[in-house]
C-alpha cells in the first residue's frame, strides 16, 4: 500500500509541537536486541528516528486501535503497544526511567484519533447545552448523541459509560438545574486506546490518582446540582449587566449631549 511518506516525514519533522518526545529503546522484530531510537509522538502517529538529529524518521507506528500496557520483561521500564488481530505485531519499548515510562504510557494510550474525537464531542455537547439548554429544551441540540458512531472494532464507546443527563427540574427561584459533572463516575484510566483482556478487565497500568473536581468528590448529582444554579445565575447576571449597560447608553444618548 502506498503512503504519502514525504508528507509523513514532513509532519514528523516540522516545528508543530510534539505530544511527547524522547529516547526509548525499541525491541527489534526478529531479534530481541533493543535499539535506542528518538521517538516523537504527534497526534496518533508515533515516529521514530535513528538519531535525534536525523532528518527523517526511520519509521512510524499508527496508533489507532492499540492498547498500551506494562510489560513483563527483563528490560527495566518496559511497556508494549499492542494491536488486536491475530498476526499483529507488538511493539515493545523501554524507557530510561520510571517517570519517562509513565509519561509515555499515558500519552500513548490517549493518542488515538477516536479518543480525541470523543472528548471533542463531549465538550461540544456541553457547550451546546450551556448555550441552548439541555436536549429537549429550546430547540434541542445540534450534534446530539445520535450522531455518534461508536465503531464496533474500535475503542470502547465513551458515551455509554456516562450517566444520563437528568431532566430539567426548575427550582423555586426559577433557576434551572442541570448536571455538569458528566463522567464523574468514569474510572481514571478511561481512554480511547485502553483495551480489555479476555476477562474484560481494563489493562492500563495504574495512573497517578485523578484530580477530582470538587463536585464529583461530593458524590455526584447532589453537589453538582448545587453548583449548577450558581452557573446559570452567574450567566444570567452577566447578560443582565450587559443589558443594563446598553440601556444606560441608550438613555444617555436620548438625553442628548450635556451642555
Amino acid at each position: 500500500m502506498k503512503l504519502n511518506e514525504r508528507s509523513l516525514a514532513f509532519y514528523a519533522t516540522c516545528d508543530s509541537p510534539a505530544d511527547n518526545a524522547g529516547f526509548l529503546y525499541k525491541r527489534g522484530e526478529r531479534h530481541t536486541a533493543y535499539h535506542r531510537r528518538w521517538f516523537v509522538l504527534k497526534g496518533n502517529m508515533l515516529f521514530y528516528f535513528e538519531e535525534r538529529e536525523s532528518r527523517e524518521p526511520v519509521g512510524v507506528i499508527v496508533l489507532e486501535g492499540c492498547t498500551v500496557e506494562l510489560c513483563d520483561s527483563a528490560e527495566e521500564f518496559a511497556f508494549a503497544i499492542r494491536f488486536g488481530g491475530t498476526k499483529s505485531r507488538t511493539y515493545v519499548l523501554a524507557a530510561e526511567s520510571q517517570a519517562a515510562m509513565e509519561s509515555w504510557v499515558k500519552s500513548l494510550s490517549r493518542a488515538s484519533f477516536d479518543y480525541m474525537r470523543l472528548v471533542v464531542r463531549e465538550l461540544e455537547k456541553q457547550l451546546e447545552e450551556m448555550r441552548w439548554g439541555p436536549a429537549g429544551g429550546c430547540g434541542g441540540c445540534r450534534g446530539s448523541p445520535s450522531s455518534w458512531k461508536p465503531k464496533p472494532s474500535g475503542p470502547e464507546p465513551w458515551p455509554e459509560r456516562l450517566p444520563a443527563l437528568p431532566t430539567v427540574m426548575p427550582k423555586e427561584n426559577g433557576c434551572a438545574v442541570w448536571n455538569n459533572a458528566l463522567g464523574a463516575d468514569l474510572p481514571p484510566n478511561t481512554s480511547g486506546c485502553s483495551g480489555h483482556d479476555s476477562e474484560g478487565n481494563p489493562r492500563l497500568p495504574p495512573l497517578p490518582p485523578r484530580r477530582r473536581a470538587s463536585s464529583s468528590e461530593a458524590g455526584g448529582t447532589g453537589a453538582a446540582a448545587a453548583e449548577s444554579p450558581s452557573i446559570f445565575c452567574r450567566l444570567h447576571e452577566r447578560y443582565g449587566q450587559e443589558v443594563a449597560r446598553l440601556r444606560q447608553d441608550w438613555l444617555e444618548r436620548r438625553r442628548g449631549p450635556r451642555p
Binding site: M1, K2, L3, N4, E5, R6, S7, L8, F10, Y11, C14, S16, Y25, H31, T32, Y34, R36, G43, N44, M45, E50, E56, V58, G59, V60, I61, E76, G85, K87, S88, R89, K106, S107, A111, S112, F113, D114, M116, R117, V119, V120, L123, E124, Q126, L127, M130, K151, S153, G154, N180, A181, G183, L186, P188, T190, R210, R211, A213, S215, L235
Partner: protein, 184 residues
C-alpha cells in the same frame, strides 16, 4: 543511566530480513528517499473499518501522465484510503495532516500537502453538492483540526463557567490539550 545487560547500542548490525530503508540500501538503491517503515497490517485493518465517508469518485494522482480513474475513496479517522473499486485492499492511503483542500473547477477538489503544494491529488465528484460535502469533511478530518476544536471548546466552557471541563476526566494536564501553546 546504569548499563543494562541485553541492550545494544543503536546500529544496524545483526539484523537480517530487513524491510524499508535498510533493505533498500542493501538492494543498492541510490538517491531519492528510502522507504519509511510503518505498521501496514494495522493500517490495512483501519481501512476496513466503517468510514466517516465513502464514495466512488474519479481520482488522479500527481504523477506524470496519470489520468482520472474511478476509485472507492474512504475517509477513516485522519486517513483517506483509496481502492480499486473491486478490490478489498487499498492501493494507497493519504495521511490528512498539514494538507490543503482546494476547490478546483466544477465538481472537482484537490488535496495537496503544504511541503509540496504543486503536487495535487484531484477528485472529480458526481455533483457540486457531493464535492462540497467532501471538502467540508476533509477539512475537518485532521487530528490537528480536532485538537484546535477541543482547545477552543475547552476555552469557551472555562470562560463561561470558570471551570476546566477536562478536570473531571483527569486529563487537564495533558500536553496535547494545552491552551495557547500550540501553533496553527
Amino acid at each position: 543511566m546504569l548499563p543494562v545487560p541485553g541492550r545494544r547500542a543503536a546500529g544496524w548490525g545483526g539484523r537480517r530480513g530487513l524491510r524499508g530503508r535498510a533493505a533498500a540500501a542493501a538492494a543498492g538503491w541510490g538517491g531519492g528517499r528510502l522507504a519509511m517503515r510503518y505498521n501496514e497490517r494495522e493500517l490495512l485493518s483501519l481501512a476496513r473499518q466503517p468510514a466517516e465517508k465513502a464514495a466512488e469518485i474519479l481520482m488522479r494522482v500527481p504523477k506524470k501522465g496519470s489520468v482520472l480513474k474511478k476509485r472507492l475513496v474512504k475517509l477513516v479517522v485522519n486517513f483517506l484510503f483509496y481502492f480499486r473499486t473491486d478490490e478489498a485492499e487499498p492501493i494507497g492511503a493519504l495521511l490528512l495532516e498539514h494538507c490543503r483542500i482546494t476547490k478546483e473547477e466544477e465538481n472537482v477538489f484537490s488535496i495537496s500537502f503544504i511541503e509540496e503544494p504543486e503536487r495535487k491529488y484531484c477528485f472529480e465528484c458526481d455533483s457540486e453538492e457531493q464535492c462540497q460535502e467532501w471538502i467540508e469533511a476533509l477539512k475537518r478530518a485532521s487530528y490537528e483540526f480536532m485538537r484546535r476544536s477541543l482547545i477552543f471548546y475547552r476555552n469557551e466552557i472555562q470562560k463561561m463557567t470558570g471551570k476546566d471541563p477536562l478536570e473531571q476526566y483527569g486529563i487537564s494536564e495533558e500536553a496535547r490539550f494545552q491552551l495557547g501553546t500550540r501553533k496553527q
